[in-house]
């Protein structure tokens, strides 16, 4: 086990898969000569050449759609969106062409494609650049969505995504790129659709994913000081979603707090609360609470942005409410 930065885990996953399979290529803005706006593709141009690591004009619908066509035609593209927010100009391509193609062709076509990139708020890049789109994309049948929070998953999930014969959206986070964590030695894969229990605890279940895993783990430390033992679950995969692991935990704790960075209206936490509220109806000792981004456009000012994000104090408050 070595500690590496999340961005290097992303890079390693791509490099390994590109080495393994010559049909895998990377396209996106600044991915080649610039090594990626967030340096996730550092060295790949040198290693694989300009035919497989391709700098694109600012044409997300164009190159995103092109990659879907290329996947139909037998390649295995990785599309980097500099930020997931920019995928919104390619929205139709993703939710219609990538998601529905196999179905509409009666199974004649497969679309083995990965879309990946930075997402979310916390970096003072304002309302248009800070979207956390996982719930939205997960609502479209035909798409798989994963959100790795740690280097090991960033690598293992991405490798699995690249090998998957279907469109997989990998949602990363600028705040995580620089963070180091342990990564298994040698080749490994992390399956899609399996949550990870980050920390066991008997008093309350906290379900989260992506960057907020880190926030929740910190909050859990604080809670422990107050005598509250939280079980922390990292979803890792938003679609398919591993309800089983959540149910198992909630049956034990009887209490659930959902934490994530999507917006409160019909976000990831809403889906989990709805589903677990039903399936664990008889096991819940308290209402399911949700701690999400606030229902406001992401403000630029750091003073406001911090409040908008699902922060530690709001998490602790929610846990105290369900436990108390």
């Amino acid at each position: 086990m070595a500690k590496i930065a999340y961005r290097d885990a992303v890079r390693d996953a791509m490099a390994e898969e590109m080495t393994r399979d010559s049909r895998v290529f990377l396209v996106g803005e600044e991915v080649a000569e610039y090594n990626g706006a967030y340096k996730c593709s550092k060295g790949l141009l040198d290693k694989f050449g300009a035919e497989r690591v391709i700098d694109s004009p600012i044409s997300e619908a164009g190159f995103g759609g092109m990659a879907i066509g290329a996947a139909m035609g037998g390649l295995r593209p990785i599309v980097e969106f500099m930020t997931w927010s920019f995928s919104f100009v390619a929205f139709d391509q993703i939710v219609n062409n990538a998601a529905n193609m196999r179905y509409m062709s009666g199974g004649q076509i497969k679309v083995p494609i990965v879309f990946r990139g930075n997402s979310g708020g916390g970096h003072q890049i304002g309302a248009t650049h800070s979207h956390a789109p996982e719930a939205i994309f997960a609502s479209f049948p035909g798409l798989k969505v994963v959100v790795p929070a740690f280097a090991a998953d960033a690598k293992g999930l991405l490798k699995t995504a690249i090998r998957d014969d279907n469109p997989v959206l990998v949602i990363e986070n600028e705040a995580l790129y620089g963070r180091e964590s342990e990564v298994p030695d040698g080749e490994y894969l992390v399956p899609l659709g399996k949550a990870n229990v980050l920390q066991e605890g008997a008093d309350v279940t906290i379900v989260t994913h992506g960057f907020t895993c880190w926030t929740v783990l910190e909050a859990a430390q604080e809670l422990l000081k107050m005598g509250i033992r939280a079980e922390v679950i990292d979803l890792r995969s938003i679609k398919p979603l591993d309800y089983e692991t959540i149910v198992r935990s909630v049956r034990k704790t009887g209490r659930l707090v959902c934490v994530d960075e999507t917006k409160p209206f019909a976000g990831v936490s809403a889906q989990i609360a709805a589903e677990i509220g039903r399936s664990c109806f008889d096991h819940l000792d308290a209402p399911i609470l949700r701690v999400t981004a606030l229902d406001v456009p992401m403000p630029f000012s750091p003073a406001l942005e911090d409040l908008c994000m699902p922060n530690q104090s709001r998490i602790i408050e929610a846990v105290k409410e369900v436990v108390g």
Partner: protein, 344 residues
């Protein structure tokens, strides 16, 4: 890049710059030529049968017929190679039938039956026959234009020597995704030919009310791309031009826009009162019917006797009739089919 005899000049051809002259396209055998004619007739008969079924309420959803445009699909496909990938919009019956979809499964698809070419999941707008490189049938206007680019990209990447024909309507030139695709195609030298089937209307909106300027091949000029405009009533003209552009794409990886002037006899979809055009206008276009033009020519050329032609047409009629019966007698998909073909 050996230049043989010079190709005959094509009357009325306009372009953003001069086309290369690779000489005349390889000649079609008698049999091939008759087969293209047959496919055009098959398409026409198929569409007419679909029209009837729609009128009697047997087909749901949208249904966009190709009547009048047959030489566009036939001429371009005959100009390319059988394994060149093609992709189009929702007006896709012709492309499907000409790329090997059997009339039975084609008709069954219109009826949403399990035996349909895409198992009843896609309907009229989503004919696919991937075995024969027919990549759909797409409903979102312009949405297929980056996909066509991608199919061509894959061919280039895999060194398959294929050229993608990406078909689209005149109305689709106003979708942003198309323009992004044009720039990428030219910049990266991707062997894709955008065939604009300019049938003069985007639904009820005449070209001059939706595009500036009305010469759609000029959109290529903004990208230093080759843009060509030809009339689409004559199979041979379409074929020769398509072949030249496909050769250029194959030899030099250079994309092009091929605007083909054509006309649809029927309404946009089926429920279209067509107040936006006059009966006279439709009649005028019907007088230069692409099927009639080719028919006259192959008769003149003595490729086939009038009698054999009649027999061919009867066979086609029977085939369409049988297709309709096949469709009518086919079962609907089982409920379990809802959940299949979502993931590979």
């Amino acid at each position: 890049m050996t230049k043989k005899t010079k190709a005959a000049p094509i009357a009325g051809l306009k372009s953003t710059f001069e086309l290369p002259d690779y000489g005349p396209a390889p000649e079609l055998s008698r049999q091939e030529r008759i087969e293209w004619y047959r496919l055009m007739v098959l398409t026409r008969r198929f569409e007419e049968r679909a029209y009837q079924s729609y009128q009697t309420g047997l087909i749901g959803g949208f249904c966009h017929l190709y009547n009048g445009q047959e030489a566009v699909a036939a001429g371009t496909l005959a100009g390319g190679r059988p394994n060149d990938p093609i992709i189009t919009a929702y007006r896709d019956h012709a492309h499907g039938l000409m790329r090997g979809i059997r009339p039975g499964p084609a008709f069954a698809e219109l009826y949403g039956r399990a035996t349909g070419v895409v198992k009843g999941k896609g309907g009229s707008m989503h004919y696919f026959n991937v075995e024969r490189e027919m990549w759909g049938g797409h409903g979102i206007v312009g949405g297929q234009t980056p996909l066509g680019l991608g199919l061509a990209f894959a061919s280039k990447y895999l060194k398959q020597d294929k050229v993608c024909f990406c078909y689209m309507g005149d109305g689709a030139v106003n979708q942003g995704a198309f323009h992004e695709s044009l720039n990428l195609a030219q910049l990266w030298q991707i062997p894709v030919i955008y065939v604009i089937e300019n049938n003069k209307y985007s639904m009820g909106t005449a070209v001059h009310r939706h595009a500036a300027p009305i010469e759609l091949y000029k959109r290529a000029a903004g990208y230093d791309m080759l843009g060509v405009q030809i009339d689409g009533a004559d199979f041979d003209v379409v074929r020769q031009t398509s072949w030249t552009l496909a050769e250029r794409a194959r030899r030099e990886n250079m994309p092009a826009i091929l605007e083909i002037e054509t006309y649809r006899y029927r309404g946009h979809s089926m429920s279209d009162p067509q107040f936006y055009r006059s009966k006279e206008e439709v009649e005028e276009y019907r007088r230069k019917d692409p099927i009639e033009i080719l028919k006259r020519r192959i008769l003149e050329e003595g490729l086939i006797s009038a009698q054999d032609l009649d027999a061919l047409e009867d066979t086609v009629k029977d085939e369409v009739k049988a297709a309709h019966e096949f469709a009518s007698n086919s079962p609907y998909p089982a409920p379990s089919e809802l959940f299949t073909d979502i993931f590979a």
